[in-house]
């Protein structure tokens, strides 16, 4: 019986060999044809040359898959033959409970090593420590949470796979009938509850501190900066000498008045437009966030800042940067380093490239930079507005007439 099976698997083996031969031939043929094509058409050469390096053609992969399937089948057949011969000889069969138990243990060990590797190698690639005042508090909380969860992670996974290995099945043993134990259950309800209470209290106070925007007495007012998101870019507006941003309304948006600033508000007159979000270090910044079309999200991970830009719902986020771009370049040892603001809420086809450079500079540099920025009220806009104002006056007088009548 078992012998017959062996023959059977030999057939499969020869089939496997044939397939591999066939496979290599096809592959060779393909390589040849691509090289021929490369010789024939020099223009297409560049394309053809880098294609096979990632993509050897679907046929190759299908073949590879079939080969793997055959290999799996052969291994399965061999296992069955092995088992059957053992059975015929009256010896013990393969104990899959043991094999699987050991595999689980192996998985635990390799998995723990893998996590360790991941934590050290990829963990080193994460964001640098926060470059803002509130961000430092967040980082502390992050590491507290990290410590607790990682400990729990390691212990529970060890227990899980440890038990799975240790109590793998055997015909000789019977499991322990142990349906419940109120003390233990109470203990492991209360323990996580306590840990979570600590995290909740810690998190709640941190969260309130970040979102509590009332300026303390004697604190200098934050610098107001407006950021408006639309598909697929950000517009920036700085207040002028009056330190106040003028009002805006989506109804005033036009080709020249991109964000719809309302020039009936005197504060608007000296507002400035900027290309880069430049902010002075160690000053409180208040980002006023707007969206014109769909929801966007202002995300500046280095400062631990994120808030959605919602059409119809102006929001703001206050933060104080603590590390200048120059310092960060040195710290990261990367001359090209820039802080970034990018969109983090799906907003359409260009979502993946909606970014603004953020530059943190010293106060002196900031003032110098600010002086160079162009006013929002451009000549073109002035022209358009004058036109509009006269029109409006006419309308008003007409209205009055109508009322008088």
């Amino acid at each position: 019986m078992a012998f017959k099976k062996l023959i059977n698997s030999k057939k499969l083996l020869s089939l496997f060999a044939m397939l591999t031969l066939f496979g290599t031939q096809v592959l060779m043929a393909q390589v040849e044809s691509t090289t021929k094509a490369a010789e024939g058409a020099p223009a297409a050469a560049a394309n053809a040359a880098d294609k096979p390096s990632v993509w050897a053609g679907p046929f190759y992969y299908i073949l590879l898959f079939l080969v793997v399937c055959c290999a799996v089948d052969i291994v399965g057949k061999i296992l069955r033959v092995y088992d059957l011969t053992k059975q015929i000889q009256g010896k013990k069969q393969m104990n899959w409970n043991n094999i699987t138990g050991i595999l689980f243990l192996l998985f635990l060990i390799l998995g723990l090593y893998g996590s360790y590797w991941s934590f050290t190698t990829q963990g080193a690639m994460i964001l640098p420590s926060a470059a803002s005042v509130h961000g430092e508090g967040l980082d502390t909380m992050f590491y507290v949470t990290f410590g607790i969860t990682t400990t729990v992670f390691i212990i529970t996974q060890i227990l899980l796979f440890g038990f799975v290995f240790k109590y793998r099945g055997s015909d000789k043993r019977k499991a322990t009938y142990y349906p419940h134990n109120n003390t233990i259950e109470a203990a492991w309800t209360i323990a996580p509850a306590i840990v979570l209470t600590v995290l909740v209290v810690f998190g709640f106070t941190t969260w309130r501190k970040i979102t509590n925007h009332v300026d303390a007495e004697g604190e200098t007012a934050s610098i107001d900066i407006e950021v408006v998101g639309h598909q697929f870019a950000w517009e920036l507006r700085y207040p002028g000498n009056d330190q106040k941003l003028g009002k805006m309304s989506y109804k005033l948006v036009s080709g020249t008045n991109k964000v719809g600033v309302d020039f009936k508000d005197k504060n608007s007159m000296d507002d400035l437009v900027a290309d880069t979000l430049v902010v002075p270090v160690n000053k409180s910044i208040r980002l006023n966030i707007h969206a014109q079309d769909v929801i966007h999200s202002v995300y500046m991970p280095h400062f631990r800042v994120q808030l959605n830009a919602v059409p119809g719902l102006p929001t703001f986020f206050k933060f104080t940067p603590t590390v200048t771009t120059r310092e960060m370049k040195a710290k990261e040892d990367n001359a090209k380093f820039e802080y970034l603001l990018y969109c983090n809420k799906i907003c359409g086809g260009g979502h993946y490239n909606m970014q603004k450079v953020v530059r943190v500079v010293t106060e002196a540099e900031y003032q110098k930079w600010l002086a160079q920025q162009k006013p929002y009220l451009t000549d073109a806009l002035k022209k358009e507005l004058h036109f509009a104002e006269t029109e409006q006056k006419e309308e008003k007088s007409e209205n009055r007439l109508a009322l008088n009548n």
């Binding site: 909740v200 079309d293 995300y299 119809g312 907003c347 979502h351």
Partner: protein, 628 residues
């Protein structure tokens, strides 16, 4: 196929019933079947097909993420205008992630999981002949089927399927001009979801009423297997939460088609101010997540119920803390309704509200932790049989821990500021509700396959399937945590525009290949599943030596489930390895009077007559011993 032999006290009725079904045509048996077992199989196979479809979509966008600069001529062959010159269109990429998420969450892990196992197990494990309303049950499947067709059909329209993410936040989803995926495809998405919710409601009402009204004699609530508890609470969640999604969706349809402004205000499109005023995009998010958050528990609770049953059976041990397991499920059910705001910490919602939602969210970690510890305690000193089902259940526990712990970061409003919508979130929910739930579903398929098809699946192929999928899932999702911690956003078509993300390209390539490996491993499952339906080894009546009622039905799966009277239940379902009994399991149908040697005083807590009998018996035993 006949129920002529049905002879309980409803015998007369059932005989008539039987005559009606005597001439079962192909149409009434396989297509418009009202038999809960057949409907379960319909849900399962449709669910598997949808899962394969959604998995292939994920491979497509993973290839895009791994090789953003390369052109794949084959892609143009398959996708046509969605991948001109072999390069995927950014809008189509968003459609892929949208449909992948929608299908996986709703069509596979809600309908495919609950639909299959609630339908199969509720009548079988409770001792009922069918669902409370078999006709509604059939409608439930067919609405689901039509919803699936509409969803897949959206790939065949000009501008492609819906693309604003599976959460379809307006205004992006409300303004057809905002992206191609908000046009016709979005309309089809909405139609599909309305049909889907109708299907879920019919199913859910059926499950609830069957559990409450149709339990066999002796099956009180505290004798129900944990699977049934999980399905029951899931159905309640679904019935309460799904209508809210329909409300939200209907308002969105109005905004899209009738010109209302429920979700729209202050909008400028293409430089032109739009007439919408007074709406709020945040309103939609509230409505969506009022379903959306219970939804993730709708996905995971059945998986937890299934794994409770499988872990107890295969550890040959009673589930540890049965009552605690039920109470934690109840706790999760109740709490899941008051945590939805944790999806909206940074949307501009009132920050104080954010703080409140953070508290409720972290509370929900307690019942989840209790469940995990109880699983561990069940394994402790067990006698574990590694059937493929058991391995998948163990995998589920591992994923549930790994993914659950990262939830503690995301549930914390302050930490969420920097993690919201990054790959950290992707890693979190793919582990805790994606992988864990799909592992629960696969465990269920391996475990109840004999009940569904009368044959066994191949164990060795099951092992292979498990190991590759288990390792593959960790390889795919573990590195994503670190990408998230580096501020890499999700739903980005390519990371080529950011210099700082370029170092993650090698990780992305690695993840893609791990995903392809795991996807290929599913072929082992598909082959095993479909092959075993026809050619698998024939099963015995109770292949896993299990206690629950479904294994007392004949292998032939007759309409009406039991040929004779419905069995009576005398005990809870977890009397495994009870000391004093010669076998390591005592089915629920065995009365205590037949197992005097293994009874415990605890068994008679609310049963004074039984207690008396028990005391009498122990006294005689004792006196006998004294005589000796």
């Amino acid at each position: 196929m006949s129920t002529l032999s049905v002879q309980d006290h409803h015998g007369v009725h059932h005989d008539e019933h039987g005559h009606e079904h005597h001439h079962d045509t192909f149409l009434t048996k396989y297509i418009f079947s009202q038999d809960h077992k057949m409907i379960a199989k319909q849900f399962l196979i449709t669910g598997i097909i949808m899962a394969v479809f959604a998995m292939l979509l994920s491979i497509l966008f993973r290839i895009q993420l791994a090789y953003p600069d390369k052109a794949f001529p084959l892609m143009e062959t398959i996708l046509g205008r969605f991948a001109p010159e072999g390069r995927m269109d950014p809008n189509f990429y968003l459609s892929l992630v949208t449909i992948h998420g929608t299908i996986m969450v709703f069509f596979v892990l809600t309908a495919g999981l609950s639909g299959t196992f609630s339908n199969l197990l509720i009548p079988l494990q409770l001792g009922a002949r069918d669902m409370a309303s078999p006709f509604m049950n059939m409608l439930s499947y067919w609405l689901f089927f039509i919803a699936s067709l509409v969803m897949i059909g959206s790939f065949f329209i000009e501008k492609g399927p819906a693309g604003p993410g599976w959460t379809i936040y307006p205004p992006l989803s409300a303004l057809p001009k905002a992206m191609p995926g908000s046009d016709m495809g979005m309309t089809m998405w909405l139609i599909s979801m309305v049909l889907f919710v109708a299907s879920q409601l019919m199913g859910g009402i059926n499950y609830v009423s069957t559990v409450l009204n149709m339990r066999t004699k002796g099956m009180d609530l505290w004798k129900m297997p944990l699977t049934i508890w999980a399905f029951f609470l899931t159905a309640i969640l679904g019935v309460l939460a799904f209508p809210v999604l329909v409300a939200g969706v209907v308002l969105l349809i109005f905004d899209r088609s009738v010109g209302t402004s429920f979700y729209l205000s202050d909008i400028v499109l293409g430089g032109v101010p739009q007439p919408f005023e007074g709406g709020s995009p945040i309103l939609f998010q509230h409505l969506f997540w009022f379903l959306g958050h219970p939804e993730v528990y709708i996905v995971i609770m059945p998986a937890l119920g299934i794994s409770s049953e499988i872990i107890a059976t295969n550890s040959r041990k009673p589930i540890f803390g049965y009552h605690a397991m039920v109470y934690s499920l109840v706790g999760i059910t109740v709490l899941s309704f008051i945590v939805w705001g944790h999806h909206m910490f940074v949307t501009g919602m009132n920050p104080f509200l954010g703080g409140v939602f953070m508290i409720t969210t972290l509370i929900i970690a307690v019942p989840s932790a209790v469940k995990t510890f109880n699983y561990l305690a069940t394994l402790w000193r067990g006698n574990i049989r590694f059937t493929p089902a058991m391995m998948f259940a163990i995998g589920l526990v591992s994923f549930f821990i790994s993914g659950g712990l990262t939830g503690i970061y995301l549930g914390n409003a302050a930490l969420d500021i920097n993690l919201h919508d990054t790959y950290f979130v992707v890693a979190h929910f793919h582990l805790v509700m994606g992988s864990a739930a799909i592992f629960g579903m696969l465990a269920g398929v391996y475990h109840w396959f004999p009940k569904m098809f009368g044959r066994l699946m191949d164990e060795k192929l099951g092992y292979l399937h498990f190991w590759i999928t288990f390792i593959g899932a960790y390889l795919v999702f573990f590195p994503m945590h670190f990408m998230g911690l580096d501020g890499v956003p999700r739903r980005y078509y390519a990371f080529t525009e950011f210099e700082s993300f370029e170092r993650w390209l090698s990780v992305n390539t690695f993840i893609t290949w791990a995903a392809i490996m795991a996807a290929v491993a599913q072929v082992a499952f598909l082959f095993n599943f479909f092959y075993s339906i026809f050619f698998g080894k024939k099963t015995t009546q109770n292949p896993w030596n299990s206690n629950t009622l479904e294994w007392t039905t004949p292998i032939e799966r007759i309409h009406g489930n039991w040929p004779g009277e419905i069995p009576t239940v005398y005990r809870w379902p977890y009397d495994y390895s009870k000391p004093g009994h010669d076998e390591d399991f005592i089915p629920q149908t065995v009365p205590y009077s037949e197992t005097m040697s293994s009874n415990l005083p605890h068994d008679f807590e609310n049963n004074p007559v039984g207690m008396e009998e028990y005391n009498k018996w122990t006294n005689t035993q004792r006196s006998n011993e004294e005589v000796k």
